[in-house]
C-alpha cells in the first residue's frame, strides 16, 4: 500500500509497472482496477492553460493512508497505489493515479472507486487554474459532505 506525492510530471504506466514488479503477487491477482485523472484544457466553460496544485504536505499522506486503511476494512484487496501530482501542471498531464490489485474484479472496481471518491472528498489538495486569459482562479466546490456539520 503506497502513497506517493510527485512534484514533477509522472507517467502512470511506468508507476504501475514499477510497483507491480515489486509486488510478490505473481499469479495471485486476477484483477487490477486503475483510475487516472488527467488535466483538461477546459473547465466550467473556460480554456485553461495551466494549473498549480497546492497541498498540505504531511496531512495529504496521513489522510490518504487513512483512506486506504478504510478501504482494506471493506474489501479484500491485495495491494494499492496512489500517486498524486503537486506543483505546476500543464494540460494533458496526469494529476492522479489510483490502482488496486485483488483476486476478483468486484473488489478492485469498488475499492478503486472508493479511494478516488474519498481522495476527492478528504485529501487536502487545492487547484489554482490559470485561464488562457491569464486570469487565475481557485477551483471551488461545495463544502465537504462529511464535514457539513461545521
Amino acid at each position: 500500500m503506497t502513497v506517493k506525492i510527485c512534484d514533477a510530471a509522472f507517467d502512470p504506466f511506468v508507476e504501475i509497472q514499477n510497483f507491480q514488479h515489486e509486488l510478490a503477487l505473481s499469479g495471485k491477482f486476477g484483477a487490477t482496477s486503475i483510475f487516472i485523472g488527467t488535466m483538461r484544457d477546459f473547465n466550467e466553460g473556460d480554456n485553461v492553460q495551466a494549473m498549480t496544485l497546492e497541498h498540505y504536505d504531511g496531512m495529504t499522506q496521513k489522510q490518504l493512508t487513512k483512506i486506504i486503511a478504510a478501504a482494506k476494512t471493506q474489501w479484500q484487496i491485495l495491494d494499492s497505489l496512489i500517486v498524486h501530482r503537486v506543483g505546476e501542471i500543464l494540460p494533458n498531464e496526469p494529476i492522479v493515479l489510483v490502482s488496486v490489485w485483488s483476486a476478483h474484479r468486484s473488489e478492485a472496481f469498488e475499492a478503486c472507486r472508493y479511494l478516488m471518491e474519498e481522495l476527492k472528498a478528504n485529501a487536502p489538495f487545492w487547484k489554482l487554474e490559470t485561464l488562457t486569459t491569464n486570469e487565475k482562479r481557485w477551483v471551488s466546490k461545495p463544502i465537504n459532505h462529511e464535514l457539513s456539520v461545521l
Binding site: Y56, K120, K127, I143
Partner: protein
C-alpha cells in the same frame, strides 16, 4: 506554543500562511481563530484540522498543536 496554518484561497485572503502563538487559557479551534483574526469571522465552509486530522471548530487545542484552516479540497 501552537501553530496556525492557512492554505490556498484562505492563505491568499489572509496574506500569510503561518502564525505561531502561545496560549495561556483553554481554547478551541474557533476561539483561537478569533484571537488571531479578530476582524475576520471564520468562513462557514472553511475546514479545520488539528495535527493533520479533520476536527470540528469546537475541538479543544493544546500546546504543541498544529491547527490548520483551509477551503474545501479540490484534488484528484
Amino acid at each position: 506554543m501552537i501553530t496556525l496554518r492557512y492554505f490556498a484561497g484562505l492563505r491568499e485572503l489572509l496574506g500569510h500562511s503561518m502564525v505561531q502563538l502561545d496560549i495561556f487559557e483553554p481554547h478551541t479551534v474557533s476561539s483561537v481563530w478569533k484571537l488571531v483574526n479578530p476582524d475576520f469571522k471564520l468562513p462557514e465552509n472553511v475546514l479545520t484540522a488539528v495535527n493533520m486530522d479533520y476536527v470540528l471548530p469546537s475541538h479543544v487545542v493544546k500546546n504543541g498543536d498544529e491547527v490548520a484552516f483551509f477551503p474545501p479540497v479540490t484534488g484528484g
